[in-house]
């Protein structure tokens, strides 16, 4: 029995996540992401890997999407509608709600703005979403008779989940992206001691141990506060979902606590829509928001209002969240150009910026930017960088492994060099084998599955009643008949087995002759043997029958004189198959001879 993990997209790479797991004959696809860096066919996973000919639906048992980021779900409509897949797709409720918005947005940008053809349509997104089955946290979903999946909380973004996939007693846990430290709006990932055979973990920050989140938050708030007090404007370029909400909550509570009056705006559109879902899925957020939402839903912002283009020219301090995050286009860039000239203002980059974007340029210290139309923009405003990332760091990954206690670990979604380090650490600390397949590489892991067997209660009780109380540490020996029939295993008592199979009972007896040198009469020998056995076998019932034979439990011992040599007595020991253990012990005992001193 084996698993194999095939990375059509994401092995030792951050980009498209798409993993194929085959577990005990069931094939499951984990995530269906796209690569943001490419604009051609390479952006989607190559699904021809999965099956050369034949339909995907026949081959795959289900698809699981861990969260709504496009590198985890971007290729879904392409996969289900254009390549063709009709089986179930599983995701959590928030993911199901937010995913289509993002896909639609993505489609709009590629098709409407860049004018690409041969891309999925809005209708395809809708059709694709119809195939989605939503799951709750900790709900065990039976995909078919054997395959079951269960979602665990993963932090990271709203609705992110880790999935346990189980067939029989073999199981895999796929973490997706997760976060082991709680933030302002989400809790920490949590899993029980499910001891899976394989844990597939992301490893974005395989070589990083992060500082406490509080320092970063404090710094952020202090900078914003100072600028606002000075009368400056703060621009925070963000992506619509995820960090934006965390920062909103952070600023909102700070404003509330400190009684600040300066307005905060966020760009309308996507963020507004997404906030609506954050309001709805309160149960997926952290302790504070969950506890206080009865009084007030934290996502019903009091201080944060929707942004209008005209506000950018308003005098006085303000804070604006604008999309996109890397300052490469759109509203954030517009505002940036307006405000860049004033040294009282500030721009805070809350995340990573790709090379070539304005964001990257200003972060690397460039003060004069060349804009389109040969304009030169002088940046006088302050530029700050704050990392708010929601992936587990090396310690977090180790902590999750400690919680779940897997037998094998497989690292994906990270850079090869970094993963190498973590792999070595995992093997050293936990003594479990760790894998890190490259893209398109298949890893096979062998397991020792335990096979469940049904046993009738009567038999179980009867067998446990014999001997000592059950002990966790020691395996217990049981007697019964194993019936393998119709793909199921049953342990039943022999009588019942005979009855079921319609067989007559046969008795198997072992008989053994033991020669003993004893010159005395037969009955005296018998008596000596009897005394000897009685002395040795204290716990068993040893009886001397009137016809000159001895019984030990059900074992019969008879003594006769040897036909040739009167000094030698032949002991006939006979036992049934069930008493094999005792019988062989007895013969061995008697073969040693009788003790000399017989009183």
């Amino acid at each position: 029995l084996s698993f194999f993990c095939l990375g059509p997209g994401a092995g030792q790479d951050v980009g498209r996540s798409c993993i194929l797991v085959s577990i005990a004959g069931k094939n499951v696809m984990l995530d269906c992401g796209m690569h943001m860096g490419y604009n051609d066919d390479r952006r989607f996973p190559d699904f021809s890997y999965i099956t050369q000919n034949g339909r995907l639906t026949d081959f795959l048992d289900c698809v699981i999407i861990s969260h709504f980021h496009l590198d985890h779900c971007g290729a879904l409509p392409y996969f289900s509608e254009m390549v063709g897949y009709d089986g179930p797709i599983y995701m959590t409720h928030p993911t199901k709600a937010i995913c289509p918005i993002l896909l639609e947005d993505y489609r709009k940008i590629t098709v409407d703005k860049k004018g690409e053809t041969n891309f999925f349509t809005s209708q395809m997104i809708k059709d694709c979403m119809k195939k989605v089955v939503a799951v709750h946290l900790h709900q065990t979903v039976q995909v078919d008779e054997e395959l079951e999946i269960k979602a665990y909380y993963a932090g990271h973004v709203l609705g992110a989940a880790m999935f346990q996939i189980k067939v029989g007693c073999e199981s895999v846990v796929y973490t997706g992206d997760y976060n082991m430290t709680p933030d302002r709006h989400l809790g920490a990932a949590w899993i029980d001691k499910c001891r899976p055979d394989l844990l597939i973990s992301e490893s974005t920050y395989a070589t990083t141990i992060r500082d406490s989140k509080r320092c970063r938050e404090r710094d952020f708030l202090k900078k914003v506060h100072e600028t606002v007090e000075r009368g400056g404007k703060v621009l925070i370029p963000v992506f619509a979902l995820g960090r934006a909400q965390e920062l909103c909550i952070l600023l909102e509570t700070f404003w509330e606590r400190m009684n600040l009056k300066a307005p905060i705006y966020f760009s309308t559109g996507l963020t507004e829509k997404a906030n609506h879902y954050y309001k709805l899925f309160i149960t997926w957020t952290n302790q504070k928001i969950r506890k206080t939402f009865v009084q007030r839903n934290m996502f019903e912002f009091k201080h944060i209002k929707a942004f209008d283009r005209a506000f950018a020219d308003n005098p006085g301090p303000m804070v604006v969240f604008a999309t996109p995050g890397m300052l490469h286009a759109g509203q954030s860039l517009q505002i940036f150009r307006k405000w860049a000239g004033n040294e009282k203002n500030m721009v805070i980059m809350p995340g990573y910026c790709v090379q070539g974007t304005v964001g990257h340029k200003i972060l690397s210290g460039q003060r004069k930017l060349e804009m389109e139309g040969r304009q030169i923009l002088e940046v006088k405003m302050q530029v700050e960088y704050m990392s708010f990332s929601a992936h587990a760091d090396a310690k977090g990954i180790m902590q999750l492994i400690r919680q779940a206690e897997p037998r094998n670990v497989l690292l994906v979604h990270g850079e090869a060099k970094k993963m190498e380090f973590l792999k070595q650490k995992i093997e050293q600390e936990f003594h479990v084998s760790c894998y890190m397949p490259a893209n398109g590489e298949t890893t096979t892991i062998f397991t020792n599955p335990s096979i469940p067997v049904d046993i009738s209660l009567g038999l179980l009780k009867r067998e446990t009643a014999i001997g000592l109380l059950p002990d966790v540490k020691k395996p217990k020996l049981m007697h019964g008949t194993l019936i393998m029939k119709d793909n199921s295993f049953r342990l039943v008592s022999p009588e019942q087995a005979l009855k079921e199979l319609g067989l007559a009972e046969h008795q198997l007896r072992f008989t053994c002759r033991v020669h003993i040198q004893d010159p005395r009469k037969e009955h005296e020998t018998v008596l000596r043997v009897y005394n000897h056995l009685k002395g040795v076998l204290k716990d068993y019932s040893v009886q001397h029958l009137p016809d000159g034979s001895i019984t030990v439990e059900s074992i019969l011992i008879q003594a006769t004189a040897h036909s040739e040599d009167q000094g030698t007595k032949v002991l006939l020991v006979s036992w049934t198959y069930q008493d094999e253990e005792l019988g062989s012990y007895l013969t061995a005992l008697l073969k040693k001879g009788l003790p000399q001193s017989t009183s």
Partner: protein
């Protein structure tokens, strides 16, 4: 069997009848109820089905059973138990047996044998478990009897092999509660059963059922609590349990490890997989730290809490808890804390402007990095960042406790505590501020830390701000910039929240007096004086200006060079403030100024021995004058009282003590005066005027004694006796006066009886103190008691009069600490001329803000009284949540009082004051009345008749101007 039952029933009945006879003879009427057991028996016999029987039993359980009939009821229940086939009914009976044996005053040893017998034939596991529970109840009632305990433990051991977890659970519980603690005694009783209980329990640490494992650990802890010294061998077993799959087991195991680490802190344990050895307490500390990152938050809370109480841990282990090696791409990275520190020491202040400022520096040796912390590494870092605020609070508390005992650790944890000021949950923030205050003796804040601390001053929560002011009162600041920063932030706070005025001034007072040398260079800037030009005189009513002056004057107290920097108007302002805000502005020795003539306050002198001596001397003097002439006694007492009162005013530390003694002496003086009146011997009608004096004296003494008993904290039982004694004397006086004035004897009967009852009560309550009271009124009275009881009222009065005169004056021993409860209403101030207008018939909310000092249990005792001009008084009980506890012995009441009245023609003043409610039932003297545990007994205990409830006003009344307008039609 039936015959036997019937007999029982009859016995019950006859018993009742007999009681009635007794009652009759005593000429008292009492209602008797038909016997419980009889009724129950009838009911149970009527029951046709198990469900019916169950209903009857349930109904029966709701009513209490008298002690006398418990045994009968138990017998009847047992009869039914044996007859019953249905397990659920047997279960209920078993649980009833347990409940019944809890009845106060009932000794269950008579039913123990029966209870044990029932165990023999029981098949149902649930019933077995319930029966064992019953045995546990019986056992806990008979703890003094070792043989009973041994027997029960044996029974429990026998059932330990049961296959049901519930039964094993109960058995372990029973062993834990009753197992022999003292081995020596156990061996004498019975050697066989004296098997090592620890071993028996320890065997079940590996039970297959997690509930049983938990019960085993709990039983072990129970044994520890009962005083058994646990063996060290358990330690390794317990360590294994830390990796259990179930959270209850882990949680209990953490406790067990903690207990063991406290028992054997110094013993050495080996580190597995290496040859090294470490102290057990360090090892345990490391293990518990590990549990701070457990999967279950219950365990995390437990672990974080316990960490705080592990004081013996070596310091390098302790410091590891705050250590978390940061890295980025395999390169060592400095934490933000380290960076801040470096920036600070290099003289540069705050930046972070460059990207890559936090860029990682040196390469890390990949082999040396330990990702999953093996020891205590970073436990607190994780705990403080936890998802659940319960864990965070526990971690902050633990930090506090550890930092209090280790100054170096305190210094290290500072950064983390400061970070917690930004937590999203207010309770956590508040807790960390309090923690910081508690450890503030050990620390000095760096400027950047101070900056973060001060940022919280803008918090909109009043509690947070006030806690922060408290913190600033006792912080050490290292630089003058720090002081300046603090002042600026506090002033900002003042403009934003003007209501914080008092608290900010107070804060600046301490800040100034703690850092005189740091304030000195700031003075010219703060007072905005200029070397050449005269600057305009600031507005004297500006709270911000007052705040600055408070800071400067307090610093000037111990810095004599400072006044030279003051300008003329500063001196004038000083004189004004010294008068108006004397609690904030200290007396200063100003050169060439006559205005400030007040001497250096005695409170500066560190040792207050002279004044303490004075107190004791004056008391000695009073006690020695038994035989002076009456006039002399009176005069001396008057002088002493005057002295003491003055002392109390001068010396705030001794105020409580001085007031207390003065009050006592005052009582004595009143008593003597009342008795000295010569008119006692004159015929009754003539001394009406005299009566007025004596009875007024009696009344006043009574009042004063209540004040003495309830208004002072720190009063011990020795003082309580004397106070009660004084009260008794006052009551005697009252009786005598009444006897003199009233005609006829009838009313005296009742009074005499009551008085004698009180004497009796006094004797019962203070029997242990009586030997110290030789020659006193009570002592003499008790000698005469037999005579008093039999004699007529008039005689009693006569005897009382003579004893009262002859009795000696009791010494009042002083307790170490005595504080008078005081209250000060801050809000409303009573200065406003604008009446509070509201429509009559509706309510208006009046904010009341008061500080209370030395009030015990303010939630229960402090009331707000509102007096309306028409004499109507309203008593308001503030909610328990309205009381905050900012420091030991201090409370703050912030509440709203709702006022309402019918329309007035013009505005008028109402009075608001605080009252201290007392009732003599709560008195420290009265013995605790055992509460019945048997179901929810609705029969309330009769209020003891002499329970006097009353209130003492203990704050100055404040006048509030209000105006209820007639409603407009």
């Amino acid at each position: 069997m039936a015959a036997h039952l019937k007999k029982r029933v009859y016995e019950e009945f006859t018993k009742v009848v007999q009681q009635q006879h007794e009652d009759l003879s005593a000429k008292k009427l009492r209602l008797t109820k038909p016997s419980k057991s009889a009724a129950l028996h009838v009911d149970l016999c009527k029951a046709t089905s198990p469900a019916d029987a169950l209903q009857y039993l349930l109904q029966f359980a709701r009513k209490p059973v008298e002690v006398e009939s418990v045994e009968g009821v138990v017998r009847i229940l047992l009869e039914h138990y044996y007859k019953e086939n249905d397990a659920s009914v047997r279960l209920k009976i078993a649980s009833l047996l347990g409940l019944l044996s809890k009845t106060a005053g009932f000794s269950p040893d008579c039913i123990m044998d029966d209870a044990i017998n029932t165990l023999q034939n029981e098949k149902s596991h649930q019933v077995l478990a319930q029966l064992l529970d019953t045995l546990l109840v019986i056992g806990t009632k008979l703890t003094e009897n070792p043989s009973v305990r041994m027997r029960l433990v044996e029974v429990a051991c026998k059932h330990l092999t049961d296959s049901s977890h519930g039964v094993r659970n109960k058995c372990l519980q029973l062993i834990g509660c009753l197992g022999p603690v003292d081995k020596g005694v156990a061996k004498e009783v019975e050697s066989q059963a004296a098997k090592d209980v620890q071993k028996i329990i320890g065997d079940h640490f590996n039970d297959q059922d997690p509930r049983v494992r938990t019960a085993a650990i709990k039983a072990m802890l129970q044994l520890h609590e009962r005083g058994l010294k646990l063996q060290q061998a358990i330690y390794s077993q317990a360590c294994k349990l830390l990796a259990d799959d179930y959270e209850q087991v882990r949680s209990a195991a953490v406790q067990l490890i903690w207990v063991l680490s406290q028992l054997y802190p110094e013993s050495i344990v080996p580190i597995p997989s290496s040859n090294e050895e470490i102290r057990l307490v360090d090892d345990a500390f490391g293990k518990i730290c590990h549990m701070v990152s457990d999967g279950s938050w219950v365990v995390r809370v437990q672990a974080a809490k316990l960490l705080g109480s592990m004081q013996q841990v070596s310091s390098h282990f302790l410091e590891q808890t705050l250590d978390k090696k940061l890295m980025s791409d395999l390169r060592r990275k400095r934490t933000a804390h380290e960076r801040a520190k470096e920036l600070y020491s290099s003289g540069e202040f705050s930046s972070g402007r460059k990207w890559g400022d936090d860029a990682p520096k040196e390469e890390i040796d990949t082999g040396a990095v330990n990702l999953i912390e093996s020891g205590a590494c970073g436990a607190f870092v994780h705990g403080l960042e936890d998802e659940m605020y319960e864990v965070r609070i526990a971690a902050v508390e633990a930090l506090c406790m550890l930092a209090q005992s280790s100054p170096s650790f305190a210094e290290k944890c500072l950064d983390f505590l400061v970070d917690m000021f930004n937590d999203e949950i207010e309770e956590v923030r508040l807790q960390s501020i309090h923690t910081m205050r508690k450890i503030s003796n050990n620390i000095t804040l760096r400027e950047d830390q101070l900056d973060t601390v001060l940022a919280v001053l803008e918090d909109s929560s009043r509690d947070i701000r006030e806690a922060l002011h408290e913190l600033l009162c006792c912080t050490n600041v290292s630089t003058k910039e720090g002081i300046h920063l603090a002042l600026v932030e506090l002033l900002k706070n003042l403009t934003k929240y003007p209501t914080d005025r008092e608290s900010i001034w107070k804060c600046l007072k301490f800040l100034g007096s703690r850092h005189p040398t740091l304030v000195l260079p700031l003075v010219p800037e703060l007072l905005s004086t200029h070397p050449f030009f005269d600057t305009p005189e600031p507005d004297m009513d500006d709270p911000a200006y007052i705040a600055v002056l408070v800071l400067i004057f307090n610093a000037a107290k111990s810095c004599p060079t400072m006044p030279a920097l003051f300008s003329d108007h500063t001196f004038r302002h000083y004189a004004y403030l010294r008068d108006s805000l004397s609690h904030l502005v200290p007396p200063l020795r100003l050169p060439g100024r006559k205005l400030v003539s007040s001497p250096v306050s005695p409170s500066i002198t560190p040792h207050e021995d002279p004044s303490q001596q004075f107190l004791h001397q004056s008391l000695e003097r009073v006690y020695n004058l038994q035989h002076l002439d009456p006039q002399g006694i009176q005069e001396l007492l008057e002088f002493t009282i005057r002295d003491l009162q003055r002392l109390g005013e001068l010396q705030s530390e001794l105020a409580g003590m001085a007031d207390f003694t003065a009050t006592y002496l005052q009582c004595q003086l009143l008593l003597i005066k009342a008795l000295q009146e010569k008119l006692w011997n004159v015929a009754a009608p003539l001394y009406l005027k005299q009566n007025a004096l004596a009875s007024a004296a009696a009344k006043q003494i009574l009042e004063e004694t209540y004040k003495m008993e309830f208004m002072y904290s720190g009063v011990e039982s020795r003082q309580v006796v004397i106070i009660h004694h004084m009260r008794l004397q006052a009551k005697a006086l009252q009786l005598i006066v009444t006897a003199r004035t009233t005609r006829g004897v009838e009313p005296l009967f009742g009074m005499c009886e009551k008085f004698l009852q009180e004497v009796d009560c006094f004797q019962r309550c203070f029997i242990s103190e009586l030997p110290h009271m030789q020659g006193s009124f009570v002592d003499k009275l008790l000698d005469l008691m037999p005579r008093l009881v039999t004699s007529k009222p008039l005689e009693v009065v006569k005897i009382l009069q003579t004893t009262l005169r002859q009795s000696t004056f009791l010494h009042l021993p002083l307790p170490e600490q005595l504080h008078r409860a005081t209250a000060n209403i801050i809000e409303p101030t009573g200065e406003s001329d604008n009446p509070l207008r509201f429509t009559s018939g509706l309510v208006v909310a009046l904010d009341v803000d008061a500080t209370l000092e030395h009030v015990q249990d303010p939630q229960g005792t402090v009331k707000v009284q509102v007096l309306y001009p028409d004499g109507q008084a309203q008593l308001i009980h503030p909610k328990p949540a309205d009381f905050r506890n900012p420091g030991p012995g201090r409370h703050r009441l912030i509440t709203q009082v709702y006022l309402s009245h019918t329309a007035w023609t013009e505005p008028c003043q109402i009075e608001v004051r605080l009252l201290l409610a007392y009732s003599s039932n709560r008195s420290k003297a009265s013995a605790k009345i055992p509460k019945s545990t048997w179901s929810e007994s609705l029969e309330a205990f009769p209020q003891s008749e002499n329970g006097i409830e009353g209130t003492i006003p203990f704050s100055k009344p404040v006048k509030v101007y209000i105006m209820p307008k007639p409603a407009r039609r």
